[in-house]
Amino acid sequence: MNAIIVSALLGVVMMFSGILLKNKSSLKYIAIGGLLVLLIANLFQTYGVYTIVVNSHDLLRFQKFGLFFNSIAITATMIYVILSGKDIENVGNYPAEYFALIFFVLCGVSILCGFNSLLMLFLGIEILSIPLYILTGADKRNLKSNEASLKYFLMGAFTAGIMLMGIALIYGATGSFGITSPVFINTPTPGSAPKASFLEIAGVLLLFVAMCFKVSAAPFHFWTPDVYDGAPSVFTSFMATVVKAAGFFAFIRLMEGQSAILGPTWKILLSFVIIATLLIGNITAVFQQSVKRMLAYSSIAQAGFMLFALYSFNDVAKEGILLYASAYSLATIGIFAVLIKLKDYTLDGFNGLAKTEPVLALTATICLLSLSGIPLTAGFFAKYYMLASVVKTGSGLWLVIVAVLFAAVSVYYYFRVIQAMYFREGVSETTEITSGFKTGLIFVAALIVLIGVLPSLLLNYFYF
């Protein structure tokens, strides 16, 4: 509850600070301070220090898992603002509003971390999405940005319709919005196979489709490359990390109870989606010339791995999704922060970066190694937990082998960037790079390696 209220308030504060403050560059620091307050507020609730009491009539139910995830999302946003705050200010004429919108997105994330009712799910998703439509179009003199924004909005609105239809059908069948209400699970006697009406199954499937769209799982991924490519790079970074991870969290929370309705069909359906996602994401990424677009496809490919958490739904998967969200967010924020500084987003733009900016090249390399899941980086344990969760269920070893082969494919396109930076001749042009930015990048890289060696540092807080 704390995070929802504080983030909404901070959003309003950011809006007004744009009017009251003449100095543009202080906005970034206000935002960082705000995020710190938000993080502390959320931690207060996590560890039961102080919680704002609001009777939500069981529409929201906060658990440690969700609150912890929220902390990760807020921390990732903080790192993102610290690294790329300056670039957010430079996107357009309304920097205060951009920061305000980011806080509203976090408000949506906070709702998704605690929803217990389909209505709250819908609200959370919408609060999360609407600011993103605006941020995507923030570079308003750029035609591509406009196009991306419109495309995103239309597709998003369409999905909202599908989601509402699903919610309506489920309500019609069960008379409840609650995702954990006993009516909903519909098990006649504990332990027996759940029985569900046609309406309910149709409703759950529609919800599934809508969530697949939000996390850009194939075959509902078509918007992703265009939107990620068209949006200003700073906001792509945010969309691809915090927002996507939050979508996954909601997906897991929603389907944990509901997937039982589909019975064994659930795993077949999900296997199809996982393989399609891995296939399309990885294979298409191989052929991209623009690194930004490659990262868009890579985010689809990474979503394929995160979907494993929905396949297994066990403790390992829960720990795994926390780790995956952190590892993937850190690495993607890092690599985007470097990308934004380059003048040319194609692979050739990276040529010779190791000579001109060795620190940027080294940190980008660590981020890319993490994305490809090489040991000693956080990305390895992220993938490890996902695979381990499936192996633990005792079935689906074939799915793990398929995933692993696609992980090998992913090495191809991530390493092409490394090859460009280190082994190819060229003079990579960058905008001005401050030493503070470099320090931030080194911090991110160190964090990736630290989690890669001792993932328990992160996970221990979960068990506190």
Partner: protein, 475 residues
């Protein structure tokens, strides 16, 4: 404590060298660090009994930072520890751009290799397995030959696919262990059912076979050896290929004994095919580096076959040969590097009569080359004799076919010696001079090892006896 230090010294000095500014002192620092590792590994060899180290690492996953240095690990860490100073000393005159990065990555590779040989926890083993690969990828891609980027990437992707399959295998066995632990003993006692053993065998064996490499997974190897900077090639062929052989003995044999038994004929036939195939190709080569690469495939094939015949004598031979092959092949690479640096070519059709210009080099090289053919009195003879003996006990026909490779080895090696060092002096050889002092020293040391081990191999057999008998005691 010694096992931990063996990993920490190269790791920390590697990181330190990596961060230093380029200067001639990085070279000396790397050499000093590698000598310190050598002293430590010698201390380990002369300590009786297995050395262990154990610390908590990932309690949630059931993985510990545990190291075990038994006979086989002592032998292989000694080989690793000898190789690096030898390589540094032999290539001391080579000038590298960004030398601090070069030597830093080399030392990190050493840390990874030693970790692989010492780890007694499956997840830790996997970590070091990858840690040894990443620096090599950068070493070859930055300082390699013309086609380095594509060739190294092929090498990387091959081994990475193998590693990932191994990871799936690890996860599967881990899920089957009684106490959900990655500890070596838990893996040994996982008691997998028959059909599962087959799958696990396949997942692990592909990874190890790519690393060795075994026919038909060998195609990355000749290109990678040819394109890598010579210092790295020495490590690749001298030490890194032993990772695959070591892993088979350490992990595969005790973990899935039934599957190993069931697939033994299949693997032996693959290995012997590879031996003959590689030897035939070696005869047709005109490039010293490629010849050594193919002859290396043949030797590794014999070692792999001798493991899978599953008798004690064969395994003893493998133990000795792992060490000796490392020494011999590094010696050959040093000479190849000297010739290339001096004369600018590796093709022996363009060379001839070098013995007149560089008699010392010729003598030392001929001894190394004869060891490569496994002539009696050289170190390789003992190992090959034991391995062929094991192979013969397994199946006479297979041993006979594999025996052809000895003749073929003599053909290509003697042909190379003759063309490079004897015959008419050609224009290119006229400018040749005798090799420098440090290379003579390094080669002499290697030659002494070759001869001593050839005459008196008993200490090496004694050293690795505990590993061999432990494997056969478990059956």
């Amino acid at each position: 404590m010694i096992p931990l230090l063996l990993i920490l010294i190269p790791l920390l000095s590697g990181l330190a060298v990596f961060l230093l500014k380029d200067s001639p002192s990085t070279k000396s620092l790397a050499l000093v660090s590698s000598l310190a590792t050598l002293v430590l590994s010698l201390m380990a060899v002369f300590t009786k009994g297995a050395l262990t180290y154990d610390a908590a690492w990932l309690p949630g996953l059931g993985s510990r930072f545990s190291l075990l240095q038994d006979g086989m690990s002592k032998m292989l860490s000694l080989l690793t520890a000898i190789s690096f100073p030898v390589v540094f000393a032999a290539t001391y005159k080579n000038v590298y751009q960004r030398s601090s990065a070069f030597y830093g990555l080399m030392l990190l590779t050493q840390a990874g290799l030693l970790g692989v040989f010492l780890a007694s926890d499956a997840l830790l083993f996997y970590f070091f397995w990858e840690l040894a690969l990443i620096p090599v990828y950068f070493l070859c891609s930055i300082w390699g030959g013309e086609k380095r980027i594509a060739v190294t990437f092929k090498f990387f992707v091959y081994t990475f696919i193998g590693s990932l399959l191994m990871l799936v295998g690890l996860l599967y066995v881990y899920a089957q262990t009684a106490d959900h632990s990655f500890a070596m003993q838990s893996f040994y006692h996982a008691n997998l059912p028959g059909h599962a053993q087959g799958a696990v065998f396949a997942l692990f064996f592909i990874a190890f076979a790519i690393k060795m490499p075994i026919f038909p997974f060998h195609t990355w190897q000749p290109d990678a050896y040819e394109q890598s900077p010579t210092a790295v090639t020495m490590i690749l062929s001298g030490v890194m290929v032993k990772m695959g052989i070591f892993a088979v003995i350490r992990w595969l044999l005790p973990m899935v004994p039934q599957a190993v038994h069931g697939h033994s004929m299949f693997v032996v036939i693959l290995s012997v095919t590879g031996m003959i195939y590689a030897s035939l190709i070696a005869i047709r080569q005109d490039d010293i580096k490629r010849l050594i690469a193919y002859s290396s495939i043949a030797h590794i094939g014999l070692m792999c076959a001798a493991i899978f015949v599953q008798n004690q004598i064969g395994l003893e031979g493998v133990m000795i040969q792992m060490f000796n092959h490392g020494i011999n092949v590094i010696g050959l690479w040093i000479v190849a590097d000297v010739i290339e640096q001096q004369l600018g070519t590796r093709k022996y059709s363009e060379l001839g009569g070098l013995a007149l210009k560089a008699p010392v080099l010729a003598i030392l090289f001929v001894i190394m080359a004869l060891a490569n053919v496994a002539l009696p009195l050289t170190n390789a003879f003992v190992g090959e004799f034991l391995m062929f003996n094991g192979l013969f006990q397994f199946n006479g026909w297979v041993a006979a076919i594999a025996g052809i490779s000895i003749i073929l080895a003599a053909v290509y090696t003697l042909n190379m010696i003759q063309k490079i060092f004897y015959g008419n002096m050609v224009e290119k050889t006229l400018v040749a001079v005798e090799v420098s002092g440090n290379v003579q020293w390094v080669l002499s040391i290697l030659v002494i090892v070759v001869l001593v081990m050839g005459v008196y191999p008993q200490p090496m057999i004694e050293l690795t006896k505990d590993t061999v008998s432990a494997i056969f005691a478990n059956r």
